[in-house]
């Protein structure tokens, strides 16, 4: 089975480890591909990161994708306009307004940790329905649980369970990610799948959430990067003769 981790931060984006360290560790843990998420700071950054990623991917022989994580509405607008220049568009969840906007934006691929620093789960039936309609996946972030104190871990797990329940009911996609900022925070895919079974997913669904679903998202995005792509669900199949 081919496993993918779609949410990793390197030293380029407030992470602790280099691209090489993360890629090497991911490969030894059995990942086929990983996606580095960066925070947008300008057009020149995209080109620079793409070059660096291509070098590391070639050296370590692992698929590496470039994602940008929008931290606010302004970021999201900027990244939406440059959507065809990178592989994945992630939205840093937690803020209710941003969660809502992410679920309603078809250009977004992944809403990361919607329950971050919240008392509620950050999603309700309306937002999950919108996420399903717009093909936005909802992330289960393992790092959030890993680093939580004993006091808050229970609350985070309850919120994750709520989101899993809603996603299952309305057919929204769930993606399991390590959310690592250091190569020591990367997790074995089997560990992530087993963890997901503890918050209400079946083992089959959990395995799909780190293999089949990320693969579908990445395939969809490869189409998006081609010249034939117009908008989600619309692409040029054949050009009319004049």
């Amino acid at each position: 089975m081919q496993f993918y981790d779609l949410h990793i931060h390197s030293a380029f984006a407030e992470g602790e480890s280099s691209l090489e360290q993360l890629a090497e560790t991911a490969k030894s843990l059995g990942y086929k591909g990983i996606c580095f998420s960066a925070y947008f700071s300008g057009d020149s950054q995209i080109k620079q990161l793409k070059e660096k990623i291509a070098d590391v991917a070639k050296k370590i022989k692992i698929e590496i994708f470039l994602g940008f994580e929008a931290r606010n509405i302004k970021d999201l607008e900027k990244l939406k306009n440059r959507r065809q220049k990178f592989d994945l568009l992630l939205v840093h969840g937690g803020d209710l307004e941003l969660n809502k906007l992410a679920c309603e934006t078809p250009e977004v691929d992944l809403l990361t940790h919607p329950e971050l620093e919240r008392n509620d789960s950050g999603l309700n039936h309306i937002l999950v329905k919108a996420a399903e309609k717009n093909n936005v996946a909802i992330e289960i972030n393992f790092r959030e649980v890993l680093l939580a104190s004993k006091k808050t871990r229970g609350k985070i797990l309850a919120n994750l369970q709520k989101n899993v329940e809603l996603a299952k009911k309305f057919g929204a996609k769930i993606v399991l990610c390590s959310g690592a900022i250091s190569h020591f925070e990367l997790k074995d895919p089997q560990v992530l799948a087993s963890f997901a079974t503890q918050i209400g997913m079946s083992l089959q669904d959990a395995t799909n959430s780190i293999s089949k679903i990320p693969q579908e998202i990445l395939t969809e995005n490869k189409k998006r990067l081609s010249n034939r792509w117009v908008m989600p669900g619309v692409e040029i199949v054949k050009e009319a003769k004049e």
Binding site: T25, L29, V145, K150, F184, K187, Q190, S194, F195, Q198
Partner: protein, 112 residues
């Protein structure tokens, strides 16, 4: 000779699973650190009542300090819980670690 209980019939016996895992860390880790980290993490996360249902046993003589691999035993209904619990261990003493699951089997022979 002390009286011993008659062995349960195979259908009544608990089915066991062995999970083999490897530890990646900057420096090699000690068995004692691993054992205490496993028990502390499991008791914190699942509680005493939860852990009692796993039939958990870290097999000391199968700890390989050169390869940094070990085998943990549990019952067949608790494999996912045990694997998830192993993933929650991120430090042994001062060392940061990553645990990679090498295999799960019903017999030790298949894992060796």
């Amino acid at each position: 000779m002390k009286p011993r209980l008659k062995i349960l019939m195979p259908t009544l016996r608990e089915k066991e699973r062995y999970i083999k895992f490897k530890i990646f860390s900057e420096e090699s880790v000690e068995y004692e650190d691993l054992e205490s980290a496993i028990w502390n993490t499991f008791l914190d996360f699942y509680g005493e009542s939860g852990v009692s249902k796993f039939s958990l046993w870290l097999i000391k003589n199968l700890w390989n300090p050169e390869e940094q691999t070990s085998i943990i035993k549990c019952n067949n209904n608790s494999v996912q819980e045990v694997v998830a619990g192993l993933g929650l261990i991120s430090r042994l003493g001062d060392d940061r670690i990553i645990i990679k699951i090498l295999g799960v089997s019903g017999t030790l022979r298949k894992l060796k």
